[in-house]
Symmetry: C2
Subunit: 246 residues, 2 copies
DNA sequence: CCCTATTTGTTCGTATGTATC
DNA sequence: TGATACATACGAACAAATAGG
């Protein structure tokens, strides 16, 4: 702890202490003293070095969290927030291209796959008869090495008998589609909800269980309008922002 | 408890008890025995009448919650989930029209309003100079009487000096815009995130604090492309689904 | 698996200064 | 002047999540 910390706070100036602390910390982040991803000193340490109560520090931190500058994780600490990923939801929604356009490198991992019989919901969405065989692939998608979304894709087996093989080779749905004769496809619609993580979602997305996930359900269709894929994606809400451009 | 409850479960048939319970409950919901919004019997009561352990009931319930059929609220009970509102995010995103199109009646309430000086972020988004006066109105918006979103709208005072008066009269942003000379406007973009409720958001939206809110930031512009309003809306994630049609 | 230390989250209570009626 | 409400600031204790042995 630098001895120079003291003297940054002035009491009785009409400016609340917590606001001075906030300005002080924001200046340090701006100056690069704390970089994105860095952990701040603990609330206790900050309170000590600034000679104020922990509540006063907490007020400043919570203000900064609300502004999106910090990420506070119970039991771990307080971190300078990294830049969020603006994930575009449009006609041409594609994970890799989406990330490339904002200067990030996309990573894919095929977690598991299985064959199922289409339940009424899936059958309707993919225009299949109930009970028709569907392939379900689970993928973990990352940006610059950090997981940002965990997705399940439902595909009609009749249309894509060898999709898993292609996926294992290319690690890309777009390429796997191409190898199965779908040169191009479009997003038909997307539905967005939010909920708390379930099962191992938090673990896979490497986020605390106390943070929500953004869940999207979507249908992709080929150029004739025939639905080819039904996807359910969970996005780490701390790292992703969904963008709709009109 | 109806005596007819027993006999619905068959042990040793290869079908897990919890799955039988799930099918049993889903059938009862389908049949209308339990209607949307109804409270189910407590986990203890269900376990008693079905002669199984409470954990077995919980497994069935948690499966149904994951499917979106139930809403489990700690300390209150388990409820049959009401139909969610499909809120369309498109060029012509308007609250009342949006709800009317899915057969619901929209309600608006102007909570408060205040005048501020535009901070750098707001100034940039509304194409104002920093420090320019802006009007901030807070509204609570409901569907069929139930609050579904709580929004703050930032408007340049220079463009809409009397917006508050018009809002108080019409209780509709669209109409208030019209009264101030904006015959038509369009949604330029929307950004969607999710987080836990803060302050009195949970209270206003009448949802438990343990459920996330969907937060949208958006810009509306007039027909010339000039931004007229910057909005931050919090949606009750249990009741609203955001829909993007391409 | 338990146990412990660390760190944030929550809820009490107390006191003070300021603005308003 | 008093009464009241509100935001600020401090203190103590405990709860809950995390990490490591």
């Amino acid at each position: 702890m630098a001895a120079g910390e003291q003297g940054t706070l002035n009491r009785g100036t009409g400016v609340a202490l917590w606001r001075q602390i906030q300005q002080h910390l924001e200046a340090q982040i701006d100056s690069g003293r704390f970089k994105p991803g860095d952990r701040l000193p603990t609330e206790f340490e900050l309170a000590e070095t600034l000679s104020v109560n922990r509540h006063t520090v907490r007020r400043a931190l919570s203000e900064m969290e609300e502004k999106g500058l910090l990420r506070v994780e119970q039991g771990r600490g307080t971190f300078v927030h990294e830049a969020v990923i603006a994930y575009n939801l449009g006609k041409r929604t594609r994970f890799s291209a989406n990330l490339a356009s904002i200067g990030r490198t996309a990573g894919h991992k095929l977690l598991t796959w299985r064959q199922e019989e289409a339940d009424p919901n899936v059958a309707k969405l993919l225009c299949l008869r109930k009970g028709a065989p569907v392939i379900v692939v689970e993928t973990l998608n990352s940006a610059d090495g950090r997981p940002v979304s965990y997705a399940e894709h439902y595909l009609a087996k009749a249309l894509f008998p060898d999709i898993v093989t292609h996926l294992q080779e290319s690690q890309s749905l777009t390429k796997a589609f191409a190898a199965q004769g779908i040169a191009d496809y479009e997003r038909k619609w997307t539905r967005v909800t939010a909920r708390m993580p379930q099962g191992n979602e938090a673990e896979l997305l490497m986020q605390p269980r106390s943070r929500p996930v953004l869940v999207t359900e979507s249908i992709d269709a080929d150029t004739t309008g025939m639905p080819i894929s039904y996807g359910i994606s969970r996005f780490a809400s701390d790292w992703v922002q969904l963008v709709i451009e009109n």
